[in-house]
Symmetry: D2
Amino acid sequence: MAGNSFGHIFRITSFGESHGKALGVVIDGCPAGLEISPKEIALELDRRKPGTSPITSPRKESDKVEIFSGAFEGKTLGTPIALLFFNHDVDSSKYEKLKNLYRPGHADYTYDQKYGYRDWRGGGRASARETVARVAAGAIAKKLLAHFGIEIFAYSQEIAGIRCQSIDRNVIETNAARAADREAAQKMEQAILEAKASGDSVGGIVEVIATGVPPGFGESVFDKLDAEIAKALMSIPAAKGVEIGSGFTSSRSRGSENNDSIGFDAKSKRAVFSSNYAGGILGGISNGDQIVARLAIKATSSVMKQQQTIDSSGNPQTIQVEGRHDPCVIPRAIPIVESMLALVLADHLLISKLSTLDKL
Amino acid sequence: MAGNSFGHIFRITSFGESHGKALGVVIDGCPAGLEISPKEIALELDRRKPGTSPITSPRKESDKVEIFSGAFEGKTLGTPIALLFFNHDVDSSKYEKLKNLYRPGHADYTYDQKYGYRDWRGGGRASARETVARVAAGAIAKKLLAHFGIEIFAYSQEIAGIRCQSIDRNVIETNAARAADREAAQKMEQAILEAKASGDSVGGIVEVIATGVPPGFGESVFDKLDAEIAKALMSIPAAKGVEIGSGFTSSRSRGSENNDSIGFDAKSKRAVFSSNYAGGILGGISNGDQIVARLAIKATSSVMKQQQTIDSSGNPQTIQVEGRHDPCVIPRAIPIVESMLALVLADHLLISKLSTLDKL
Amino acid sequence: MAGNSFGHIFRITSFGESHGKALGVVIDGCPAGLEISPKEIALELDRRKPGTSPITSPRKESDKVEIFSGAFEGKTLGTPIALLFFNHDVDSSKYEKLKNLYRPGHADYTYDQKYGYRDWRGGGRASARETVARVAAGAIAKKLLAHFGIEIFAYSQEIAGIRCQSIDRNVIETNAARAADREAAQKMEQAILEAKASGDSVGGIVEVIATGVPPGFGESVFDKLDAEIAKALMSIPAAKGVEIGSGFTSSRSRGSENNDSIGFDAKSKRAVFSSNYAGGILGGISNGDQIVARLAIKATSSVMKQQQTIDSSGNPQTIQVEGRHDPCVIPRAIPIVESMLALVLADHLLISKLSTLDKL
Amino acid sequence: MAGNSFGHIFRITSFGESHGKALGVVIDGCPAGLEISPKEIALELDRRKPGTSPITSPRKESDKVEIFSGAFEGKTLGTPIALLFFNHDVDSSKYEKLKNLYRPGHADYTYDQKYGYRDWRGGGRASARETVARVAAGAIAKKLLAHFGIEIFAYSQEIAGIRCQSIDRNVIETNAARAADREAAQKMEQAILEAKASGDSVGGIVEVIATGVPPGFGESVFDKLDAEIAKALMSIPAAKGVEIGSGFTSSRSRGSENNDSIGFDAKSKRAVFSSNYAGGILGGISNGDQIVARLAIKATSSVMKQQQTIDSSGNPQTIQVEGRHDPCVIPRAIPIVESMLALVLADHLLISKLSTLDKL
């Protein structure tokens, strides 16, 4: 109810403040018998961590992964899996002078209004540091999906208005921008560095794709697969828009253009589609094609320019946020977006097993 | 779990197939003491019903509203409110020849894959007729919100690529397109009629706005207000994209441009914002400004043009959907979009009451 | 949240007031492909209905069953199944003079305190008439369980202190008391008639048994099978106590006596137990033995004797409840108790399918 | 779904295996602004810990409490509160020889059947060590309840058939048996020591009472307060029976005897009852009187006597459980039972705030 859990059956509960003692996540509902290892989780966390290139924050978050419960001899037990990340060496002093100020674009004001009170150190619960829990849980969701032949990858489709012109999956992890197009990557990095130099920030669009999803994921009416994905992605910090398949473009096409024609693949005995404007989802249920979604992420709110705001007493103030912020969060958002899609798909993989008597 | 319920505390459960005996909705968690009447619900249902103008389906759905439980002497009892809509005079004969065919853009194939079986009459559970339940429940949610000074309105911001250039709330219900700009409305209607004449269909974008929402709606991390809205809107049939505030545009702005500066209103003792790129939500929690969201809806999938598809045995077939379909669903989607936002806000209104000890 | 839904996956939502327009239930999460019929549901409802013998209320509730959604050509669709029971010919006049009085043992006072207001006609939402929804949903749950070889039966183990000395399943439906022992049945009926003659009422104990439940139903820690059963049974009107297996007796035995020794059945490749003090559940999970539970039900609160109470203004009043009440609800509670156990088991049957990777 | 969370709004998620790295609990939905401290939690944990008297296990569990998240400057933040208990110095060697044996009365067989696999060290997830999470969360629930004048206490009403003849709340914490009657306490301790000496164990009954609960807690139909309590208590390890108020006794009384007459207290403007056979609950909703429940707990399953069982291959084996087990868990169960009731009441305290428009 309080919003820190996600998923119906494969369900995670996240906790922790940015500069508190620890952050963590409990994963309940993962079936027994899945091989998991701290190493695999660490690989995903490394993709998220800052300080790895000039275009991300120089902050250090070296999250050592320990599995505190739910696994035994390298396999899940079917019981809750708890992962904890201690916040070592946090420096809250820079936030001391912000504790009564409301940073524009941030949750300072809304948390104070909601809870009457907040942990102002490092953004508290509203900090994007919270996404470490999502990525850790997402790593386990990905492992479960992989067991069923489902893979997920995301990339920076657009940063600062610069768009990938081609998609080469192999390119993504070879450039700091995590673009799928080498040329675009260079321009993106340059644009980020320029914004950084002027104390400003830029945003962008992440595209995420799942392959190998069979028909039948997603429920009718409210828990449609696209609705679940929309929620999952929009819950990521700084998210402002979500598209499935052709998205907003589809609102400008005609029905005859936008429908994907249906053919048949005799080998897999499944429908195949001439195009994928649907993004792999029809009537809220996966159709066997690639799941395709996009997430618009705004430019980082923490900029080093003077801004007008108020303090907690309502007095006007000017503010200039300092600290080691990302001039662009898109590259680091890639594993987060993947994780959120993985959590949705792992959940609906399990739910889908219960849809007909024949499968039980 | 099976996806037919929505909301945490103000929770609705929808049921019914398009050509089954009845559709309906049960609303659980509505506080006692709210005045409700069939008449008010009927007013909202009338806004949704087809057959009211040349640009919508000529189908007749005269849904008489009866409140079967949960109210007594005109007020809610705090117990579940059940509303039922009988499907009178349905004509399933036109669907007879489609029963083994998979209509492109529709859920026929995915329902068969998921459930092994489907009610092919009128789209069954996947029919947009299901939204009658949403609008009826939404009418009660709106009533609850109105009690707290919260209002919701939506309009056709764009149809077939034609965009409102101005927003006049009073214009919306005076034109068949439900545009907020009289000139745009005319062009939209023309575009719809043209598409209809050629057996085709068009899509568009709905903008929905809530006024009077106080700061503090929305929960941390996963059940953020924007995430909840994204799910609510994306669960509407034919939805393909959702934006909050400046949405995808924010991904192309710089942080210094996209942050809303914060001022103070001495009278209400609340923050005021110089702009509303945030769409009224910061860190997933309402900031007291207007809530603004947009929904991209694809062109109606049922077109009267020949399309390639397969039958349930995998054989290639051509199909030409007949029947009384909307050439554009945007105008009728307006009350549906409003209802989904109302359901989210009514739910979070209740949840927000429990956030601090001081308020209890 | 508001307490009108039960179950995690196989989930029902009940609605309706005793003298309102209708009562009903929506069953969500029932897999597609299950054959259901109004006739089978009616058979269970008939077991619950009053007016069938001198020891039950002479009231008439002839509930005609219609399946309003979720089924097509005799099989479930995987979509919500809605069942509605209209309240025809209700006579609320006898309740008119009780509308400001709080009947001892009833929910009148607590509903007024909670909701500020109540439907006083026939007990409103607190009426045991609500159990019609449980029995109807239970009939479908039983059908699902039967598909997997699971059967449930209950009987009046004790009425007015008279206890069955033997259990013959075939006897149960042949006597009005629904005892499993013909001799005890006669004494029970006599005791009920005596209580009735003196304007009083009696209570008793129902035992319910499920056969064919495989090992593995029930979840760890909180949603243990016994905990779920305890909630299910205690939610039945007038319930005051629940036991699993040897129950309160086990609290007076020694560990060495109370443990069931474990053997092995080579044919089924399952453990067999020398006794069943555990009631078929170990550590919250079914062990393959019969599930055995008992429910203590208090004597009907509506008695024709003068009682002290207050009116809604706090003034002392004497009250003598009239009307056509059951002098003992135990016989009619049998199908209700069975239904609640069926709902728990149907739910955990589905959940149990997701416990290990091997089964998926 | 997987059963490790409890509560609707005030919701806890528990995790951890007995001999794994850590156990813990996440509490979500606790309102902001509640003062909590590790010291207060530690006081409750000390009441649960073994090794404090000759009648409990000599095992040492010195659980140091740290609050990892959700609190700042001594007050709750409204965000999830995480508590972790590391399992230091566990000795799993004694379990090595039991790893393929199914201990009678334990969950070994059922966990293997459900998950195909289990952590056999110290009982794994099925160990009563898990209750440390319940007590820690319960301490916070109690703090919230105390803010509203609600207090909870439990005591050993009966051990090994020896029953308290009087209830003196002040006596409870002064004797190792946690009886409320000094004389009974002595006999209980003696009975426990006798059972221990013969390698056997005894069970008993815990009574738990909540004072200060206002009318209006509990929801209609399924989430009745008594049903919620029944589930909460029955989920405690070794629980076999639950009673509310007069419980099973009420099934042998007449209606005219068992109804509590209603009077009025002019000062509090509330109903007062001449007796409390109802246990403070009418129609599933608290009536303002004391909440009274009882829990039957079986004798400890780990006894030092030879028992018949099988190994995981189905071969017959004799087993004699060694280790440092409690000859009677009742005294240590007292804070656990209190905690479970506290969790239910804290949850329903919050839910009750949303029942009518007037209170919002």
